[in-house]
Amino acid sequence: MLQRAELTKYFKSTLFIPQLKSKTKDAVLKELLDLFVQVKYIRNRDLVLEMLHQREKLGSTGIGKNVAIPHGRTTATSDVIVAFGRSEQGIDFDAIDKKPVHLFFMVIAPPHDEGNVYLPILGSLVTVLNLKKNRDKLLKVNTFEEFIEVITGES
């Protein structure tokens, strides 16, 4: 597990979408992934998109309670980065509890990652998002700064 303050290092204001446009599972994976492409964190969008689709075959990353954490390692990146997106109306993401997903965290990691933080990041996100008060706050944040405060537990 990773300390919550540590966790914030892996978010970027450029990878933060408080109002997702997407309405389907496929579209939201692309919309989030495109952020990584724009900031040049990944080299080949199609390869990473394919990886994310394969990951969904392993089991939906919609973990329930309106949360999804699509993730995977790919050879097409060098850094561990997390993007956040929020959908007000919710998206059918094939989640384990069948509920629409409002909160999305996309975690992309290289094959090797310095300090082996990839799995601890996933674990910490699950822990933070298991708490209703954190989910409720994340549904309301307006800015990246407010978002980070929720992640660190300062708000």
């Binding site: 080299r43 390869l47 990886m51 394969q54 392993l58 089991g59 995977g72 050879t75 060098s78 090797h112």
Partner: protein
């Protein structure tokens, strides 16, 4: 567009990493029900890769776990050695695949 041999290897490795870590991801609270399907997809993908290249991948994987690694700022992210600007040593079987002179991993340039 058809994938290059290197891109096929990248997809194969991405699948292998996913299969390898499935149990750990499950422990974290994710639903993991499609392992069989994923292994099948992996086998299918492997068929599309030339025999010599696939066996080179498998040998590297057995020896050093990650057979293909990204290169960023000319640094091999497998062993962190700077690659010469000549882009290292050319691979034997496939003209587009280069290997790290130091660790022998196949290289995937990020830029």
């Amino acid at each position: 567009m058809a994938k290059t041999s290197l891109e096929l290897l990248v997809s194969l490795q991405d699948l292998d990493l996913m299969i390898e870590e499935a149990d750990e991801v499950k422990k974290l609270g994710f639903s993991v029900t499609g392992s069989t399907e994923l292994i099948k997809a992996r086998e299918e993908l492997a068929k599309s890769i030339s025999r010599p290249l696939l066996s080179r991948y498998e040998q590297l994987r057995a020896k050093i776990k990650r057979a293909v690694v990204p290169v960023k700022d000319d640094i091999c992210l497998g062993c962190f050695l700077r690659q010469p600007t000549s882009r290292g040593v050319r691979g034997r079987e496939d003209e587009q695949i280069f290997t790290c002179e130091n660790c022998g991993r196949m290289l995937y340039w990020l830029e």
